[in-house]
Subunit: 344 residues, 3 copies
Amino acid sequence: MTETVSSLAALLGGRVVGNGSQPIVGVADLRMAGADRIGFVRDVKYRDAARATKLGALIVYEELDTQAAQIVVADVGLAFAKVALHFHPVPRAKQHSIHPTATVHPEARLEAPVEIGPNAVVGKVVVGAGTVIMAGAFVGDGTKIGRDCVLYPRVVCYHGLSLGDRVVIHAGAVIGSDGFGYARDGAKWTKVPQLGSVRIDDDVEIGANCTIDRGAIGDTKIGARTKIDNLCHFGHNCVVGEDCAFAGATFVAGSTVFGDRVTMAGHVAIAGHRKIGDDVRVGGNSCVLFDVEEAGDYMGYPLVEKRKWIRLMAAQRDLLELQEQVEGLRRAIEGGGNGSNPKA
Amino acid sequence: MTETVSSLAALLGGRVVGNGSQPIVGVADLRMAGADRIGFVRDVKYRDAARATKLGALIVYEELDTQAAQIVVADVGLAFAKVALHFHPVPRAKQHSIHPTATVHPEARLEAPVEIGPNAVVGKVVVGAGTVIMAGAFVGDGTKIGRDCVLYPRVVCYHGLSLGDRVVIHAGAVIGSDGFGYARDGAKWTKVPQLGSVRIDDDVEIGANCTIDRGAIGDTKIGARTKIDNLCHFGHNCVVGEDCAFAGATFVAGSTVFGDRVTMAGHVAIAGHRKIGDDVRVGGNSCVLFDVEEAGDYMGYPLVEKRKWIRLMAAQRDLLELQEQVEGLRRAIEGGGNGSNPKA
Amino acid sequence: MTETVSSLAALLGGRVVGNGSQPIVGVADLRMAGADRIGFVRDVKYRDAARATKLGALIVYEELDTQAAQIVVADVGLAFAKVALHFHPVPRAKQHSIHPTATVHPEARLEAPVEIGPNAVVGKVVVGAGTVIMAGAFVGDGTKIGRDCVLYPRVVCYHGLSLGDRVVIHAGAVIGSDGFGYARDGAKWTKVPQLGSVRIDDDVEIGANCTIDRGAIGDTKIGARTKIDNLCHFGHNCVVGEDCAFAGATFVAGSTVFGDRVTMAGHVAIAGHRKIGDDVRVGGNSCVLFDVEEAGDYMGYPLVEKRKWIRLMAAQRDLLELQEQVEGLRRAIEGGGNGSNPKA
């Protein structure tokens, strides 16, 4: 695919500086080379690198001193993402093809074109046009997959799930496994069958080796456009809103409900049966034990406002000194309360 | 399968109120509809919902005001689990079937009936009757699997393992991978071959994408009826007792020994070479660095009694105020020790 | 394979005590039996067990009172690892074999001998001699795998990766999945295509169900001889040095750079865009939020020197008592600053 600086500027609604007719065939890092490649400069600190670049074009936040053609935009990161996606779109099925080693249920309803890779196992399902099911993926009976989805190799979707359009699931993720439900029978555990399902809305992306359990009776739900990084877990009956982002290794116990635009910054643990409001943002390595209803930035364990956590960490680091100060005060008071310096 | 309220009451040892001959074909949530479905009310707060229910029957903790037939039992949660399991039993092989795309070693000893799904790979193993090995699962040479087990899609069991009866392993779990053993050779690591195995006893259930490493020389062992949630890890030579429960994303380093009826509430990290006694219960997001021999409820990092942790979290949240108080006291003492209010 | 005590002593550079011509066919635990097996005694506390051993030979740190032949070495653990590896080498392809159920791209370049297992899917790749690709593994187009590597069952290597020689990847690990990169577009996330790759150098071992994301534009890199335990995650553009060790469930956000000989002791969370220097060692369950440039032992959250963390944990455990002491001091001062015992 060949574009020009001008055609890309039109895509971005940006302003061209320099040679708009420069052909562009792909993106690159500022420090790479290629007259037919476009890079980006997000920040004044890369000004010198921009001047020295061997790329043919740059997406920039303001006009810079460089031989490269430039596209000036308001949001460089977003603009670069759009150009990169233009050259490297998410995989889509273009012609109907089922690999001869795939096992597809004779009553599966595949809306052509669908691509099914080697050794994939697809039950009695419904799959929308444009969807790619890669090598070794498994889709259980009764699951419905929308259009233009991508299941990367070795993804497992259990039975009876519902995926919207343009859902992307990375390798090794398991969707619809049994929730962790047991009832005590004296000293023993009796399994509570997990009879609900998982509903994943449009444009959700799920990372490698994640696990999202099916609901106990109702469904586990992931709202539209929510993005989930690798090795995250969502327990049964969680309900996640729209436009959320969960960074890697975030663990959510069952039945917790999230609003929209929630972000978790990685390695966060969230208790079950909690309510997390819209626009709650939690810093990395935090633990959410209680409801967090009000929008804002939170962090730590115990979870507090992020700014407070920064101060609390410093206080925790100084805890030995605080103990010493208290001991000094005690000695000063016991020694006569005479105002001698308790720090001495 | 059709039952009646009375036949289910007999199964549960419960007391029938209302129409015992009401046919029941499945379970449902209280707020769903269906004259042939049975739901449950565990708690007084669902009394109004019980009155309005459109289900044909309810399992209840006491007789309620409702049109639905009722089965009164002592433990509603357990009773509902039993009824749900009755209608939705764990998968079992009923007729011997090996999918033509499966690869089974010619000397594998399969006690009919066994079901082996598409693209499963089964080495020179022993498999008991009733066991289901689903699509794409892998079982290495020398592994012995008992009766009525379920290996969900893409489960990997390395070579030489031993699984009891009715063991259930969810998709993507890996059993018997090498323990993390290396010896320092100057600045370099030399691998210590992991020559032990994994022994999983009867009625264990293991969640999706868990990893349980084989022992270094001896075996890693998971005791009977223990339940393990998704994305948990057990290092080499761990020995887990019976009737334990490990909620999701719990990480156990090598050689730690657990008693019976231990519970970990999710996202708990446990150091290696520790001893955890019978009936130890650890709250979520805790870190177990030292032995915990005495039964009881623990939580936090540092791990303390759960009740104390609740108070410690409050104290941690108030640490900045404590620092200010100490600073106020210091000023009061330095200012003359005259008894002026150090809070002022 | 049969050795003798003397031939093994030569391999180890150790000194023989007793019957050097004793044949040895394998290793065993000190408490097992077998005249043709060799065990080890690392420590004075196993002296009695050494005296009672039924093994034919022992690797020992000094000459012991035992009937077994002995090999005296300086580093028992390392010597045992070497002997065990001698009898149980890492799997290597000895004869070229592609299982008939494997799907191999016709233009894949396989340097014989390579072993490819059942249902493996291998794209247009380059694979070096001696490499074993086990059942159900997936290798995407453009990936280059060196010599004597092992991909255990169900490993997924996305497209365009580069693996050195003797790289071992355990079951279920996913290498080269998309990094977690999105640009905000108002309330929505726009995907940033992940166009870099993953480069894994010689002698790296990666545990079961790990995930290592490809770089955004540049590459994610894992340095030579680095060992990674199960369920670890490395985000896009991380650069890991040589001879590092990451114990299980360690989570590394994107773009963090590690020096050489770094160790993380398990369940450690590491923020993105950080710099971790050579010989930094971090204890289990820690959180690394900031750069750690200086070599040494660190632990905790907030991360401090390990010795300090041990004391900080004790102080945290005593926080309620500290609050009480401060309250006692306040009362003592308010009560007249008369030197009465504030502890009373």
